[in-house]
């Protein structure tokens, strides 16, 4: 493994045009200090017990069997080192919002690149679906550097536009992914919550593990505008609202909190991990926080 490079904040990372370099920096920097085997046994089906032989990973030892029988057995999993992950990237208009240098889509793209790099480096397969109200790109899950380059190329071409239709995209994905795996959804989730949750439930019912990375901008969270503002919708040219933000702030935040709460509860109900990330958080922190929680759960 290469010497970990210092990680930069999102604005600085923005200047790094090549996704591959960026992803490498993020991942290697993130994984510095984390055990490489954090993804080991990651969402894989148990197959059988077999006797322990010298050289087996002690983490696969079944300690309960040892306790009961005083014999050493390891657990075998189906496709133990071959995780099939699909990255679902929301490229709708709302993802194009930026209050600073980095838009939500920019952030999601870099995060997606980092996740793809991590997966491929782990010898897992990674795929990509880019959508707005329709699928814009579909790369089935594969391993290898060629796949990684294809993913990076697609990500670099991705721009925000169109309306959000996350539920539809997810429903479409379910029919395309035959084998269960990991679905990483990068979105702001600014859609019909119930429809979204239903779609996520469908993924879960297809035995996929689902993680939703909810990408948000700080201003969407705080709504700290100081003067009269005309808010123009990023997804519809007709929708414009002129308001004194000070007067609607409280109600907006209440609405936002309610939205987040229902999303959170729904995901919890369907055993979907949801990771809200604000775009002013460093990539490594976002990724490391998530990976650490995954490692703890494992």
């Amino acid at each position: 493994m290469a010497t970990p490079q210092p990680l930069l904040d999102p604005e600085a990372m923005q200047r790094l045009a090549r996704l591959d370099l960026l992803a490498r920096q993020v991942v290697e920097g993130t994984l510095a200090g984390l055990h490489r085997s954090v993804f080991h046994g990651f969402s894989i089906e148990f197959l059988q017990h077999r006797p322990y032989v010298s050289g087996d990973d002690l983490r696969c030892l079944d300690w309960k069997v040892l306790g009961r029988t005083d014999r050493y057995y390891v657990r075998e999993f189906e496709d133990e080192t071959n995780l099939r992950a699909t990255i679902l990237l929301d490229a709708s208009g709302s993802m194009g919002y930026r209050s600073g240098v980095v838009s939500k889509l920019d952030y999601a793209i870099r995060l997606a690149a980092s996740l793809a790099y991590l997966l491929v480096e782990q010898q897992d397969s990674a795929g990509l679906v880019v959508f707005d109200e329709r699928d814009r790109a579909l790369l089935p899950s594969r391993t290898g550097r060629r796949q990684l380059k294809a993913i990076f190329d697609e990500l670099e071409r991705t721009t925000a536009g169109g309306e959000t239709s996350l539920a539809k995209a997810i429903h479409g994905l379910v029919s395309r992914i035959s084998r269960r795996g990991l679905v990483l959804v990068l979105t702001d989730a600014f859609d019909d919550v119930e429809a979204l949750l239903n779609a996520l439930a469908r993924l879960r019912s297809a035995h996929h593990e689902v993680i939703v990375f909810q990408i948000l901008d700080r201003r969407e969270v705080d709504f700290d505008f100081g003067r009269w503002t005309r808010f123009d919708s990023l997804e519809s040219d007709d929708e414009k609202i002129l308001a004194d933000p000070a007067q609607v702030r409280r109600t907006y935040l209440e609405r936002f909190e309610a939205f987040q709460r229902s999303l959170r509860e729904g995901c919890h109900r369907h055993r979907v991990d949801i990771v809200p990330i604000v775009t002013d958080v460093r990539y490594d922190e976002a990724l490391a926080g998530f990976l650490a929680s995954r490692g703890t759960r494992e």
Partner: protein, 718 residues
């Protein structure tokens, strides 16, 4: 409502600023491409109505702040209701009563009083009039009612203010009455009296409160009465700081009453009144400027102490004494003065109506013995004798007192001389006896009330039956015989007297002693400069046992001394009391020099009053020694002493003064600033800028709160 700074009302145009800013802000908005429209739209839809209300309220509050601020700066005034409103519609006559008690000299009180009077004068308008009364021991009009323009331009106001000096104790009720009577002559709708006084507690003693109650009630009841305002300058406490109230002061110098004879010891009593226990100090007495003696005070625990000196004046004439309290600093009432006139022996002529040989055989004998009881020792009295039938007018020359003892009658010429003698200041004592004929006396001496007799003698001469022991004597004029004591005549029995009926009681005639049955015994009558004392019994022991009683000697001496001392031998006056120096007629229109206590000299002239010349000076407000010199002759001394109570600068609580005055609708104003505010309120009404500013501050806080309330809930984390 009126505005004192009308031009600043233009500032109310600033009210438009918040509205304009609001409109500008609405137009000058930023454009933000937004993703979470569904959340924003829901928020805006929910609060559309309340958003509008909040915007309106905020703009309205901001406009109100600016508008009210501009209004406050324009100094609005609400017209007062009632009398003040009417006061603005007509000319005013203003009387200013100034408390010129001694405390005026302390703590800058005079300057404050002047400032208050000037403020009042400055508030007057065209055609208004002003008068100023100085209320001291007596009231003095320092400025008669005059138009304030004339008073101002002619310098009369300035001169009146310059002439205000302290004059003893303030008699404010009298001062108010004086001012009120001055205003009564003004043909105006609005009369106002301003009383300027410190809150010295001694001005509020019960008797003075009663006087004030009476005058303030009278003013209030009078339909043409005046509106009264009381200005307290609050300066007594400052004066108290200038004077250490803890120090003792001299309570005054008292001389023994009566006739002061040269080469006779005179008792001078000096009272020392401490305000707190003191240890040490001494009293020094100076006689005619020369130190006579010193007495150590020792320790005083708060009680008054009297120190007695007995100086002797070698020469006759005017003299003065000064008592000093040493060991204390800075108080002018630690010096006290007294002045007096000493004379040689008093010439007394006893006219014998029934000469008998032997000293205790006749009335003359008893009287002579009483006046000159000690053989071989000089008496104060130079007693001469004359037979009634040989009396001539020349015998009266140079005599101070004539005693008629059992005289039957006189020639008309002698009666006329006796009348002149008494009117010129002489004293006449008449004792009855068996030779006195009531009819003759009534005819010769009474002259239907114009003569010397103070009473009509009744013919009947009752005598007490043999089995009774006589009637007693009671003192009718207690002040007259205070020195002798109230029981002085106990044991005296009168068996014979001539009944008398007073001719004109109260008009200088009064009963000094009466018998226990009510008949007058000793009757006094003032006749111009002299007095007559008529005794209805005799000076012998056959009509009463009085001549044989120990009281007889002091009684006769006291009687003769008081008659022979003239109008006054004492020249010690209270502040404000006029100096009156009688002179012989030959000294009319003479040049008179008066040296005042502060060393300044005044020049004046004597003038004719009645049958004699007189020099008079009224402005005796300053305590100390006044020296009068007529045509370069020997100086005559007068002493003015402060009243003891004026040294007490304890102030009455303002709340108590306000409460008392409130009963009569009198407003209390505190300080010169208070006077200006009061006058302004009178003229323009009550200023309300302060409440407006308070409202502005409240609105400002409310605006802050409103903004915070609208913007609440800033920030949250996902």
């Amino acid at each position: 409502m009126t505005f004192l700074n009308e031009i600043l009302l233009l500032g109310m145009a600033a009210m438009a600023v918040p509205l304009i800013l609001h409109l500008i802000r609405r137009r000058r908005y930023q454009v933000v491409p937004w993703g979470a429209m569904h959340l924003l739209a829901a928020a805006v839809t929910k609060r559309t109505r309340s958003i509008r209300l909040e915007q309106l309220l905020l703009v309205a509050v901001r406009m109100a702040i600016l508008g009210l601020l501009a209004a406050a700066m324009a100094r609005p005034a609400l017209d007062s209701l009632g009398d003040a409103a009417g006061a603005l519609r007509g000319k005013r006559a203003v009387g200013v009563v100034v408390d010129v008690s001694y405390s005026l000299e302390f703590g800058g009180a005079k300057a404050r009083v002047r400032a208050a009077v000037e403020a009042i004068a400055a508030s007057l308008g065209e055609g208004d009039t002003i008068a100023i009364v100085a209320a001291g021991t007596s009231s003095r009009v320092v400025l008669h009612l005059t138009s304030h323009e004339a008073a101002d331009e002619g310098g009369e106001l300035e001169a009146a203010l310059d002439g205000i000096e302290s004059a003893g104790t303030a008699r404010l009720a009298a001062g108010i009455g004086e001012a009120w009577s001055l205003l009564a002559s003004a043909e105006v709708a609005n009369r106002e009296v301003f009383v300027i006084s410190d809150s010295q507690a001694i001005n509020w003693l019960p008797d003075r409160r009663d006087q004030m109650r009476e005058i303030l009630s009278a003013v209030r009841r009078d339909p043409n009465g005046a509106r009264v305002a009381w200005v307290t300058d609050g300066g007594v406490s400052d004066a108290a700081a200038a004077i250490d109230l803890g120090q003792p002061f001299l309570g005054g110098v008292r001389l023994s009453e009566g006739f002061y004879a040269a080469r006779e010891a005179i008792e001078v009593r000096v009272a020392v009144v401490p305000r707190r226990p003191i240890d040490g100090g001494r009293v020094t007495l100076l006689v005619d400027g020369i130190e006579f003696g010193t007495a150590e005070i020792g320790t005083l625990d708060g009680a008054e102490r009297e120190v007695i000196f007995r100086p002797q004046f070698e020469s006759t004439g005017s003299h003065w004494v000064e008592a000093r309290l040493d060991g204390v600093v800075g108080r002018s009432d630690t010096r006290s003065f007294a002045a007096l006139v000493t004379r040689g022996r008093m010439p007394v002529l006893i006219v014998d109506g029934a000469p008998r040989s032997g000293r205790l055989k006749s009335a003359v004998g008893f009287v002579q013995l009483a006046l000159d009881p000690y053989s071989g020792r000089r008496s104060v009295f130079d007693v001469g004798l004359a037979r009634a039938d040989a009396l001539t007018p020349s015998a009266l020359v140079g005599v101070s007192v004539v005693v008629l003892a059992n005289v039957r009658s006189f020639k008309q010429e002698i009666v006329a001389e006796l009348e002149k003698f008494v009117k010129a200041g002489g004293g006449l004592v008449v004792f009855c006896g068996d030779r006195v004929d009531p009819d003759r006396y009534n005819a010769a001496f009474r002259r239907d009330g114009a003569g010397l007799l103070p009473a009509e003698l009744l013919v009947e001469s009752p005598s007490v039956p043999a089995d009774e022991t006589g009637v007693g004597i009671e003192i009718a004029a207690a002040d007259r015989f205070a020195e002798l004591g109230s029981d002085a005549f106990q044991g005296v029995r009168v068996t014979r007297w001539i009944p008398a009926r007073l001719l004109d009681s109260g008009n200088g005639t009064r009963v000094l002693l009466e018998l226990s049955n009510g008949d007058p015994l000793l009757i006094e009558r003032r006749l111009e400069h002299g007095r007559v004392v008529f005794c209805t019994t005799s000076a012998t022991n056959d009509w009463s046992n009085l001549p044989l009683r120990p009281i007889f000697l002091p009684f006769v001496q006291d009687l003769v001394l008081s008659l022979g001392a003239g109008v006054s031998s004492s020249r010690t006056l209270a502040p404000g009391e006029a100096i009156e120096l009688p002179l012989s007629k030959a000294l009319v229109d003479s040049h008179v020099t008066l040296r005042l206590p502060d060393g300044r000299e005044n020049r004046g002239m004597s003038f004719l009053r009645g049958t004699r010349a007189l020099f008079e000076y009224r402005n005796t407000s300053a305590p100390g020694l006044y020296v009068v010199t007529v045509d370069g002759k020997d100086p005559e001394h007068f002493a003015v002493t402060t009243t003891r109570e004026e040294s007490d600068l304890t102030a009455l609580e303002t709340s108590e003064v306000r409460r008392f005055l409130g009963e009569f609708g009198v407003e209390l104003v505190v300080g010169v600033d208070g006077v200006e505010d009061f006058l302004r309120q009178q003229r323009y009404g009550v200023e309300v800028w302060k409440p407006l500013v308070a409202i502005v501050l409240l609105l400002a806080f409310f605006e802050l709160f409103l903004v915070r309330w609208i913007e609440r809930g800033r920030g949250s984390t996902p």
